[in-house]
Every structure is written in structure tokens, then in C-alpha cells.
């Protein structure tokens, strides 16, 4: 039972056609004397490494720490530079600009609101003025109408008075006429009666007697 071939066999069996075979194979041929022992050692080492790689946590594989830390530091420095030089001032600027825009807009709105209030006040003032003016015009018109009305009334009154005076005069006239006719009739009737009774009365006496009677 030869030791070296057996070792080779074992090694090949384990690593198969892996590239490692070439290198470790070279090692074994170089250290010709203790070839088997060396291969045995590398195999167990390989086993151990494989076992460690499979079972252990990759987080605790310290051979990767240097690499991870180096690249992490590179990444952090880059991120810090990108953010602090470019991104953060820009975002801060955007936010400040927006804030100032909002403040400005609010101020403008405030101003417009004041203007609107002023306009409303002016409008109300105009309305009040217009109303007063209207009232004044109405009052004026009313006064004028009143005056015309009074004049018309006075005119009508005067006319009515004149007409009634005229009527009264004519009534008086008529009454006068009637009175005179009555006196005449009374005189004639008296003279007739006296004549019929057989008396003799001259016109003069009869007239005097009738007049006296009429007065009495």
C-alpha cells in the first residue's frame, strides 16, 4: 500500500478538476519526499476551510473586514461629499425659496385683501352718497310738487270764491227782482181788492200801505 499515490488519489478525489489541483499538485511534486503528508495536510486544511465557510457566519469572517471597512469608508466619504457639497445646500435652498415665496404670496394676498376692503369701503361710501343724493332729489321734487300743488289749490280757491261771489250776487239780484215783483203784485192785488170791496183808493195810498205792511 503505497502512500504517495494514495495521497494523490485522495486529493484528486476531493478537489476534483478544481484549479487548485494544479497549484497544490505543483507543490506536491516539488516536495517529492513528503508528498503524501503535504497533500494530506492541504486536504484537511481544505476541509477545514470549507467547513468554516459553510457553517460559520460570514459576518465573523475576519478576512473580509479590511476590505469591507476600506470600501465602507470610501462610500461614506463619497456620500458625505455628495450630500454636504451638492444635495443638502440645494434642498435647503429650495425649501428657503419656497418659504420666501409663500411669505411673499401671503403678504401679497394680505395687501390685496386690504385693497379689497378699501374698495368695499369706497363702494359703500358711494352707495351712501348716492342714497343721500337720491333722498335730496326726492325731497326737492316733493317740495316743488308741493309748491305747484299749493299754487294750483290757491288758484282754484280764488276761482271758486269768484264763482260763488258771482252766484251770490245773482241770487241776490234774483231775490231783489222777486222782491220787487212781489211788491208790485201785492200793490196791484191790494188795489184790486180795495176796488172790489168798493173802496176808492188812489195808487199812492195803496203803495204806501203795502210798503208799510211789507216792512212790518
Amino acid at each position: 500500500m503505497a502512500f504517495p499515490p494514495n495521497g494523490h488519489q485522495c486529493k484528486h478525489g476531493f478537489l476534483g478538476d478544481d484549479m487548485a489541483t494544479e497549484t497544490t499538485g505543483a507543490v506536491t511534486t516539488a516536495t517529492d519526499a513528503a508528498a503524501g503528508l503535504v497533500t494530506e495536510a492541504t486536504t484537511t486544511a481544505g476541509h477545514a476551510a470549507k467547513a468554516a465557510g459553510n457553517a460559520g457566519m460570514p459576518q465573523l469572517d475576519f478576512t473580509t473586514f479590511g476590505n469591507q471597512i476600506f470600501w465602507l469608508v470610501v462610500a461614506l466619504v463619497l456620500i458625505y461629499l455628495i450630500l454636504s457639497r451638492v444635495a443638502l445646500p440645494r434642498i435647503g435652498g429650495i425649501l428657503a425659496a419656497r418659504q420666501s415665496t409663500i411669505t411673499k404670496d401671503i403678504a401679497a394676498a394680505e395687501e390685496l385683501k386690504a385693497k379689497a376692503a378699501e374698495a368695499e369701503k369706497a363702494y359703500n361710501q358711494a352707495l351712501v352718497d348716492a342714497r343721500a343724493e337720491a333722498n335730496r332729489i326726492v325731497a326737492e321734487a316733493r317740495a316743488e310738487i308741493q309748491k305747484d300743488l299749493a299754487a294750483a289749490t290757491a288758484h282754484a280757491d280764488a276761482e271758486i270764491a269768484a264763482k260763488s261771489a258771482e252766484s251770490e250776487r245773482r241770487i241776490a239780484e234774483i231775490r231783489e227782482g222777486a222782491m220787487a215783483s212781489v211788491t208790485e203784485v201785492a200793490r196791484d192785488v191790494a188795489a184790486e181788492i180795495v176796488g172790489a170791496l168798493g173802496g176808492k183808493a188812489d195808487a199812492k195810498t195803496v203803495a204806501a200801505a203795502v210798503t208799510a205792511r211789507l216792512k212790518g
Binding site: 478537489l15 478544481d18 484549479m19 487548485a20 497549484t23 497544490t24 492541504t42 486544511a45 481544505g46 477545514a48 476551510a49 470549507k50 465557510g53 459553510n54 457566519m57 460570514p58 459576518q59 465573523l60 469572517d61 475576519f62 478576512t63 473580509t64 473586514f65 479590511g66 476590505n67 469591507q68 471597512i69 476600506f70 470600501w71 465602507l72 469608508v73 470610501v74 462610500a75 461614506l76 463619497l78 456620500i79 458625505y80 455628495i82 450630500l83 454636504s84 451638492v86 444635495a87 443638502l88 440645494r90 434642498i91 435647503g92 435652498g93 429650495i94 425649501l95 425659496a97 419656497r98 415665496t101
Partner: protein
């Protein structure tokens, strides 16, 4: 027989998603065993890995939202600009409310941390992606950066008065040394909890999703799958929703704790 089929068909590798590997080569097995002094094949510090790729994508996303999105500088913002402004206002208000007016000077620094975490968390939720913030090395650097910043600011601003943070003057005198020890320990535990909280949350959520995902193809193997597969898909959906919340909340928690620590540094009186 059934168990054999299971072990053959269902592959449980919930942690494989966190593996870091170089993008342009394979690490040959056996070439990186630090315990035995074999480091030839190990990851070099400058190599571009999947973690690097996703950090780079985070940077690109940040540029997209905060630089290109705000290019219009419009008073009435576009959608992306609103997101940028929302984030700005959110963090700015947080810094001002928690750390006070003096803290606003540190706003770009805190905002950078917030952006990195929030973008890394959300990009990490994409299928097939890599969650940068699930790695303790990353969150530890973030937490230690905060710790150092806060400590240096505390001493520069307040001198030795900063040590008043540990000397609780409102407590009875005999208790003060005890409290000082406790305060000192809690002060140094801060970066530990600060970093493990973030990495732990992100990692746990992703791992749980992966475990459920491993159950999902059971329907192809056994009759049990008619029950298990819909359940696991439902569970993945639910977990994913929770992870979306966690992605934001953990970034928020990290940021607000940074603000709280900063407040302690600026105003060390209790």
C-alpha cells in the same frame, strides 16, 4: 427514505446570502486559512466585492434621489424631489428636536449616515441583492464613527466638564462612584449595541426569509408540500413586509440614537 429525499431536495443555507466574494475571481478553497498562516488567496483590502458593488449602488441611488431628483429646483416639487425634501425635513427636524440648535451643525454628517443605512437596507431587500448593513464590520464602523465623533465633540465643547456625564450630581454622594462606573460602562457599550442592533435586525430578517424560502420547493418533492409551500410563501411575504418596516425603522433608530448621543456631548448635564 423521505428524510433522505428532504436532505437531498431542500437546501438550507440561510447564511450564504451574506457571503462576501470578489467580483472578478473565485477564492480557491484552501488558499485562505488564516489559522494556519495561509492567506495567499484571501480577500485583498482593495478588491471589488459584492459588498462594494451594493455600496456603490447605494451611492448611485443617493445621487439619483438627492442630486438628479432635485435638479429642477422647482418650487412645486416633482415626485423624486418631494422624497428628497421629505428625507431632508425628517432628519433635520430630528436633529433639531433631539440634539438642539447646536446639533444642526452636524446635520450633513447625520444625514449621510441615515441615507447610507436607509438605502443599503432597502437595496438589500431586493431579491438576489446583498445587504451591506447585515455585516457587523460595516455597522461597527458606523457606530465607532459616531462614538468617536460624539466623544471628541464632547471634550472639545465642554473640556473636562464632559466627564460630568458620568458624575450624577442629582444622586446622593455615596452612590455617585457606583453610578459613575455604571455610566462609564454604559457609555462604552453604546457603540456595541448601536452596531449589533442594526446588523442583527437586518441579518435575522434576511436569514428567516431564506429559511422559509428553503421550505418553499417542498411541493416538488413530497405531498407535504401542498400544505407547507403555500404557508412558506405566505410567511416569506409577511416577513418581507416586516423587513420593509425594519429597514426604515432601524435606520431611524440608528439616526435618532446618534442624535441622542450628540445631545449628551453638547449638553452633558443630566
Amino acid at each position: 427514505m423521505a428524510t433522505e429525499e428532504h436532505s437531498e431536495g431542500l437546501a438550507f443555507h440561510p447564511m450564504d446570502q451574506f457571503k462576501i466574494h470578489p467580483l472578478f475571481r473565485e477564492i480557491e478553497p484552501g488558499t485562505c486559512v488564516p489559522d494556519q498562516g495561509i492567506t495567499d488567496g484571501c480577500l485583498k483590502w482593495y478588491e471589488v466585492t459584492n459588498a462594494t458593488l451594493w455600496m456603490g449602488l447605494s451611492i448611485l441611488a443617493i445621487i439619483l434621489v438627492f442630486v438628479i431628483g432635485t435638479r429642477g429646483r422647482s418650487i412645486i416639487p416633482s415626485r423624486i424631489q418631494s422624497i428628497a425634501e421629505l428625507a431632508y425635513n425628517f432628519v433635520h427636524k430630528m436633529v433639531e428636536d433631539v440634539a438642539g440648535h447646536e446639533g444642526v451643525k452636524f446635520f450633513p454628517y447625520i444625514f449621510s449616515l441615515f441615507c447610507f443605512i436607509v438605502f443599503a437596507n432597502f437595496l438589500g431587500l431586493l431579491p438576489k441583492s446583498f445587504a451591506t448593513t447585515s455585516h457587523i464590520a460595516v455597522t461597527a464602523v458606523l457606530a465607532v464613527a459616531v462614538f468617536l465623533t460624539v466623544t471628541i465633540v464632547g471634550f472639545v465643547k465642554n473640556g473636562t466638564h464632559f466627564l460630568g456625564l458620568f458624575w450624577v450630581t442629582s444622586a446622593p454622594l455615596p452612590l455617585r462612584p457606583v453610578l459613575a462606573v455604571i455610566e462609564l460602562i454604559s457609555y462604552f457599550v453604546r457603540p456595541v449595541s448601536h452596531s449589533i442592533r442594526l446588523a442583527g435586525n437586518v441579518m435575522a430578517g434576511h436569514a428567516v426569509i431564506k429559511v422559509f424560502a428553503a421550505f418553499a420547493p417542498l411541493i416538488l418533492i413530497s405531498g407535504m408540500g401542498f400544505l407547507v409551500t403555500p404557508l412558506s410563501i405566505l410567511a416569506i411575504t409577511a416577513m418581507y413586509g416586516l423587513e420593509v418596516l425594519v429597514a426604515f425603522i432601524q435606520a431611524y433608530v440608528f439616526t435618532i440614537l446618534t442624535c441622542v448621543y450628540l445631545k449628551d456631548a453638547l449638553h452633558p448635564g443630566h
